[in-house]
Each structure stands twice: as C-alpha cells, then as structure tokens.
Amino acid sequence: MDALSSWDVIKNNLPWLLWGAWPDGPLGGLALTVVLAAGSALGSAVLGLALGILLAVLRGVPRHALLGTLAFLRAIPVLMLIFWVYFLLPICLHIDVPGVWSVMCALTLISAAYLAHAVYAGIEGISKGQWEAALATGLTHWQTLRLVILPQALRMMAPSFINQWVTLIKDTSLAYIVGVGELAMVTAQVSNRVMIYPAQLFLFAGVLYFALCQGVTWAGNRVAKTAWQS
C-alpha cells in the first residue's frame, strides 16, 4: 500500500474542510466560518453604530448603565458569553436555538461593545464647529448627525471596523465549543479521523484563516481609501 502524503489527506478531505456536508447536509468548514463572520460583522456594525450614537446623545444614569453594560461585555471572555447565550437564549425565547445562531448572537454582542466605543470616539472627534454650522443652516439634530457628523466620523472609524472584522473571523473558531462545524472544528474532526499529519492539517487551516483575515484587511483598506478619495 502506498503511504498517503499529507497533501493526499488534505485533498481527500478538501470538500469537507471547505463547505462541510453541503449541499447534502448542513453547511460547514470554511464556508460556515465566512457565514458566521459576515453575519456577526453585519449585526455588530448596526448594533455598534446604534450604541455608539446612544453613548454620544445619552446623559446621566442611562448613559452610565450603557457604559457599565459595555464594560461588562468587554471584560468577559467571548467563550463565556457563548456559554451564556447558548444557555439563556432557548430559555428566553422558548424555542430551540441552533448553535450557529447562539454563536452569531454572542459574537455580535461582544463585537458591538467594542465598536460602540470606536463610533463614540469618532463622533466626539468631529469638532463642535461642525455641529454648530450644521444646526445654523437649519438642519435638525438628527439630520446633522446623519448627514454631517457620521460621514466624517465613519472615515475615522474605518480602521477600528477592519480590525474588528479580523477579530471576528478569528473568534468564529470559538463556535467549536458548542459543536458548530466551522473550519477549526472540522479540521480537528478530520485530524481525529485520519490519525495522521495533524500538524499539516492545522497548518492548512491556518493558511485559510490567514488568507481570509489578510483579504478582509486588504479589501477593507482599499474600500476605505477609494470611498473617501473624492
């Protein structure tokens, strides 16, 4: 019998590593990693923007309550939050929540907690004169924020958002802990099954993650650059 090379092992398991059992079964592997990251990136962008604006407009007790909640989310490991969401979500909603949704929910929350501060800093970074000038031309507070402040603030936030997306891609691997078959999980599965070349298998998955993270950084910087060149 010919000995299998490490490349043979990767090649034989490539579909499983890239998209799991799909289309005959659930999506998995790299494709699920991308779906998880994209879903929580979108969710956390919306939530982070909303919370950041709230930080800028709220005063007094509500603002402190929000700051406390954000600080709490930032102080606990993502893993603990995934445990909590995985456990609490079915109790609160009275339905069975699949692991994928729990993970996406947890990642959205934690990521939004980080982004909220970036958004707030971006809004605060715009000079008071911009507010005053916009209000003086007759815009309402909300119009000023939406049409004058946010477009300028978003430019400053771009690096934070890109950083956060890379972190999100890496954090999707934590879905492993609740048995969601994304890239890290299926790689460990394949490694356990074939019982050979574990180092090469994990290196291969590492290269995939690396390409994904670098790709997002590159594309994000490019879009940020071209969007504001005009």
Binding site: I76, L79, M80, F87, A184, P198, F202, G206, C213
Partner: protein, 231 residues
C-alpha cells in the same frame, strides 16, 4: 428551591482551583510573552530583523488562537520524535503536563505578537531628537536606549500593553479546548455535574470580571503614584 441553591463545597473548591489555574497560566504567559515581544520589537528595529518581526506578527495575529492551540497540542506533538513524545506524555516530577505545555506555549506566542506591535509602536513614538540629544550629551547608544528612549517608549505603550494583558487573561479561557482545567473548563464541568448552570457560569463570569477589574485598578493606582511629569 434547589434551582437557586448555591453550589456545594467540593464544586466551589473545583471552581476556585480553576480560577487559580487561570491566574497562574495568564501570569506565566504574560511574563514570557513580554520578554519575547520585547525581543521581537528590538529585532524589528534592525534591517534584517524587521521582515522576521513582520512575518511573526502577521502569522500569529491573523490566525485564531484556538487553531494555534490545536496545532501545538495535536500537531507539534506529532512532529516530535517518538522518544520525546513518550517522555512528554509520561509523568515527571515538577514537569508540566502536555496540556499545560501546549497551553503555555500557544498563549505565550500569540500574546507576544500583540506585545511586539505595541512595544514597537511605543519605540516609534519617541521623537528622533531624543536619540540625537542623548548621544550628543555623550551617552553611548546602549545607554541612550536604556535611559532615554526606553522609558518614554514604555510610557507610550503602557495603556495598550495593559489592554493586551487583559486580553491574555480572557484568552486563557480557550485553553479549555485542549483540556486545560482552568476557570471556563471547571465551570463547564460543574455545570454538567450539578445542572446549576447559573451558579457555575456565574462564578466563572464574575471571576473573569474580578481579574479584569483588579488589573485596571492596579494600573490606575500605579499610574497615579508616578510623578506627574512621567504620566
């Protein structure tokens, strides 16, 4: 009322032990990572060392820590010669278990990549004039670095480094995936043994919050004790 009853003593002891493991693991990894990160940052100031530092930080920061832990625990172990593997997996006095070794190595190498970037940013933040002035008053380059550039650089990187230390504490939770019996691991153990999910996860969650608060408080106290001009 059993649902809200507090955990029995053996489970509390188990959780306490997990907390202790988390503290020791994080402390050891942060210490080692600071040394490595500093070495990487220094190497980054050299023409030949710069590509090396860049490659290191890019590789370790763009792949998940969990995957790196899997690599060190399942992968690197398989690359070792048979004799070394047998020796590592058999018990020795005062020698850590394979899980502890892989967890320490993985978390240290990952954290060092972030430390290196922050220390490098601090070194870059010191104006070139400081170097020139230090050399002009007759300090040797080593002295100029040690007494003039480094203290200012560390002051610039300190807030970022504190943030990374907090990250290291939180990231230590991932080592449960390779069987390290730290706080998250023991909370999951207690949860499945007692079904007291709130208490088990609550203990672990508060444990992490406590550690983060302690680091933040310690940093604030230390910062205030320094003379005003060094802040």
């Amino acid at each position: 009322m059993t649902a809200i009853a507090w955990l029995d003593r053996p489970y509390l002891l188990l959780l306490g032990h997990g907390l202790a493991v988390t503290i020791v693991l994080a402390a050891v990894c942060v210490t080692l990572a600071l040394a490595l990160g500093f070495a990487l940052a220094l190497a980054g100031r050299h023409r030949w060392g710069l590509p090396l530092t860049h490659a290191y930080t890019a590789a370790f920061r763009n792949t998940p820590l969990l995957l790196q832990l899997f690599f060190w625990y399942f992968g690197a172990m398989a690359l070792l010669p048979e004799a070394a593997r047998v020796w590592l997996n058999s018990p020795h006095a005062l020698w850590p278990t394979p899980e502890t070794l892989a967890a320490t190595l993985g978390l240290t190498l990952y954290t060092a990549a972030y430390f290196a970037e922050d220390i490098r940013a601090g070194l870059r933040g010191v104006p070139a004039g400081q170097w020139e002035a230090a050399l002009a008053i007759g300090l040797r380059p080593a002295q100029a670095f040690r007494f003039v550039v480094l203290p200012q650089a560390l002051r610039i990187s300190a807030p970022a480094l504190i943030g990374q230390i907090m990250n290291a504490v939180k990231n230590s939770s991932l080592t449960m995936a390779i069987g390290m019996a730290e706080l998250s691991y023991t909370s999951r153990q207690v949860e499945s043994a007692t079904f007291k999910t709130f208490q088990a996860f609550g203990f672990a969650t508060l444990g992490y919050v406590l550690l983060i608060v302690l680091i933040e408080t310690g940093w604030q106290i230390w910062r205030r004790q320094r003379p005003v001009w060094t802040r």
